[in-house]
Amino acid sequence: MKKRDRHDLFVYFSFIWVGLLIYLFIVAYPVLYSIWLSFSDYNPNKGGGWNFVGFLQYATMLKDPNFYHALKNNMIVVVVSVGGQIPIALMLAYILHRKLIRGGAFFQTIVFLPQFLSTIVIGLLWRRLFAADGPMSTLIQIFTKDPDAQFTMMLDPSTVFYPIGFALIWMYTGFFMIIFLANLQKMDGSIMEAATIDGANESQIFSKIIIPHLSGTIIVCSILAIAGSLRGFDLIFAMTTQGLQRDNAMVLPIYMYQTAFQDYTNEMRFAYGAAISNIIVVISVLLIGISNLIGKIFKPSEEK
């Protein structure tokens, strides 16, 4: 290395060393610690020594039916997020951008409003809506004329994700809508104007101009939605009560939390919890990789 290069390196490093140290301490250290922990039997609460146990925690996890239950639920959340939030957000952004309705600013605010509220508050609000004799039950009682009718979807593992999915869409659609709207505003308006003059209708403009133009943004939003879905804990935790409801709606982060923080019968619970969290990261990376691949497959045809 030349003296000049060494000097440059020193200058660069002098600019970044504080940030790098903070990054290593806050991000890199917990990640490495979690990986190490998952291959050990260490219990930080108990202290003392530790042993290398290889893939024991991962093998235990793969034999646990709760893991597959939580994984299945997480995949439902991913499908709801990618297949629900993003298309709805895109449609809403398009409607607002093309001024297809009056009072666009009002609707934009309304859809984005949940982003200003605490997730826990939102979770509790939806929980109250679905509670015994709550607003949803009252509506059912009015329509069925059965005073004993109740909203019971939260009690059944096969239906619990209908209300939760609805809440997830309600909460996060506004976030993606704003991203799409910002990107639409960057578009050259003359393209759509020209298409309109050439006789293209709204659905043709949407499918032939808007979608290709926003393909990169859609991929970014999908990545955000996948990552958010897999680490999503707070909304589902707050929406469900301890016991049957939370068991039905258990996703990997809740499974990890219950294992590491509540299962005192398992002395290796922190190591087991670390293994679950590492698997969450692996699944996220895999799904994000698939999203990128799909993005690349569609990109050449868009450039033709």
């Binding site: 219990n43 930080p44 609460n45 108990k46 202290g47 929980r127 679905f130 509670a131 015994a132 004799d133 709550g134 039950s137 005073p147 004993d148 109740q150 909203f151 019971t152 939260m154 009690l155 059944d156 009560t241 301890q242 016991g243 049957l244 409801q245 068991d247 939390y257 219950q258 590491a260 923080f261 509540q262 299962d263 005192y264 019968t265 398992n266 922190f270």
Partner: protein
């Protein structure tokens, strides 16, 4: 001039650095984990007591973090695992409240330090193998399976205090005709079924006050006919209309509000709820042990489930530092003083005090007097989650919710709990 200026700056720097250190060194800081929130009596009273104590003892700072319910348990686990151990904390000695401290080897025996002139040691149960006292309980045993009765409503329907379960069943048609719930329970919370109802049913049906602890120790099985019959009692209660199947969607707040607004004849809750009942209904409320269940055995007739009451205790870290220990004990004496204990008794937070020569005030509400009567007359049985923890307890809690909502049979749940308990 330059030297004088440098000297002055140095003086200021030294002063700024050391003066606070001096003043801080005079103040003993007790790092505390408190239980409550800003809206419940526990939290409000905690803040009031700490402020008054610090005013009277300017050399002591009670530096606290206050959390409630699941958030508290979560933070305890996180703090202990990260080595950020408090000096003083709200804790217990059973599986639910004591395990994290026991596992982290942070339990501290208070026996040597507790003020024997103030506390009646005969009222504080042994919490360890050598009679250790790991925390100072707020009161005597914590009754978890008490039944609250709105006496006025029951009388209005033409009934009196039930002696048997069948007496409650007789009230069902009249209650339903008036749109009233017979027995209200916060069944959306899985723990409520275990702690506040099943703990007493198991003891009654098996005739064994310690069935749960024996089953956890492997001396009994959760698949024993007595345990299955106990779970089946839940099915019977739903079938008889005593408990609504919709109870599994009723949370704690709704349960308290339903009962407090006169929408239910009875309420299932622990003794701690007595002080939180709407004043109007509280005056007409009687507190009792569950009446006799059909098929219950003699050994545990009239019993209620009870656990060692939780309270504040020093951790090993806090106890090993003389200054912190003395400051914390001084605070605890203030926290458990006669006026504060009387207040807790009046508001229903505790069953009975553990103070020496304590005179029970004559002007207590009826529900509080009932509580003292039940505590002193009824036999005590095991509280399930004081012994059963982890996946087995979770499976039991959600299993009872499944039974009530008709999604599982008692035998299925018993088998699942047994399997997980033996893992």
């Amino acid at each position: 001039m330059r030297k004088a200026l440098i000297g002055f700056i140095l003086l200021v720097v030294v002063g700024v650095a050391f003066v606070p250190a001096f003043s801080a060194s005079k103040k003993v800081v007790v790092d505390t984990m408190a239980y409550g929130d800003n809206s419940n009596p526990e939290g409000v009273n905690w803040v009031r007591i700490v402020n008054a104590f610090e005013k009277a003892n300017p050399d002591i700072k009670i530096q606290y973090e206050m959390l409630y319910d699941e958030a508290y348990h979560q933070k305890v686990t996180a703090r202990l695992a990260s080595g950020n151990v408090p000096d003083l904390a709200y804790m217990g000695a059973d599986a639910r409240w004591g395990t994290p401290w026991k596992e982290a080897k942070q339990q501290f025996d208070h026996k040597k330090y507790i003020d024997k002139n103030m506390f009646d040691l005969s009222l504080i149960p042994s919490m360890g193998p050598r009679g250790e006292i790991y925390e100072i309980p707020l009161g005597t045993s914590n009754l978890t399976t008490t039944l609250y009765m709105n006496e006025k409503l029951v009388k209005e329907l033409g009934f009196s205090t039930p002696k048997t379960y069948a007496d409650i069943v007789k009230m069902v048609p009249a209650a339903k005709a008036k749109g009233l719930t017979v027995v209200s329970i916060d069944g959306a919370d899985g723990w409520a079924w275990g702690s506040c109802l099943m703990s007493t049913i198991v003891a009654r049906m098996s005739g064994d006050l310690n069935f749960v602890s024996k089953a956890v120790a492997g001396k009994k099985k959760f698949t024993d006919p007595d345990f299955v019959a106990s779970l089946a009692m839940l099915e019977t209660m739903v079938k008889d209309g005593v408990i609504d199947a919709k109870s599994v969607t009723v949370d704690y707040g709704t349960n308290m509000s339903n009962y407090g607004n006169g929408k239910a004849l009875f309420m299932v809750q622990g003794q701690w709820a007595a002080g939180s009942i709407n004043k109007k209904v509280q005056d007409t409320t009687r507190l009792m042990a569950w009446p006799a269940f059909p098929g219950e055995k003699k050994g545990a007739a009239g019993s209620v489930a009870a656990a060692i009451q939780v309270g504040y205790g020093l951790t090993k870290k806090g106890g090993s530092n003389k200054d912190v220990r003395e400051a914390a004990l001084k605070f605890l004496n203030y926290f458990y003083s006669v006026p504060e204990t009387t207040e807790r008794l009046k508001t229903g937070a505790i069953v009975a005090p553990i103070l020496k020569n304590f005179k029970v005030p004559a002007s207590l509400p009826q529900v509080i007097k009932d509580k003292v009567t039940v505590a002193t007359t009824a036999k005590n049985s095991d509280v399930i989650d004081a012994y059963l923890t982890g996946a087995a307890n979770d499976a039991l809690n959600s299993g009872m919710q499944k039974i009530v909502s008709g999604k599982a049979t008692p035998a299925q749940i018993a088998a699942e709990v047994e399997k997980l308990a033996r893992k």
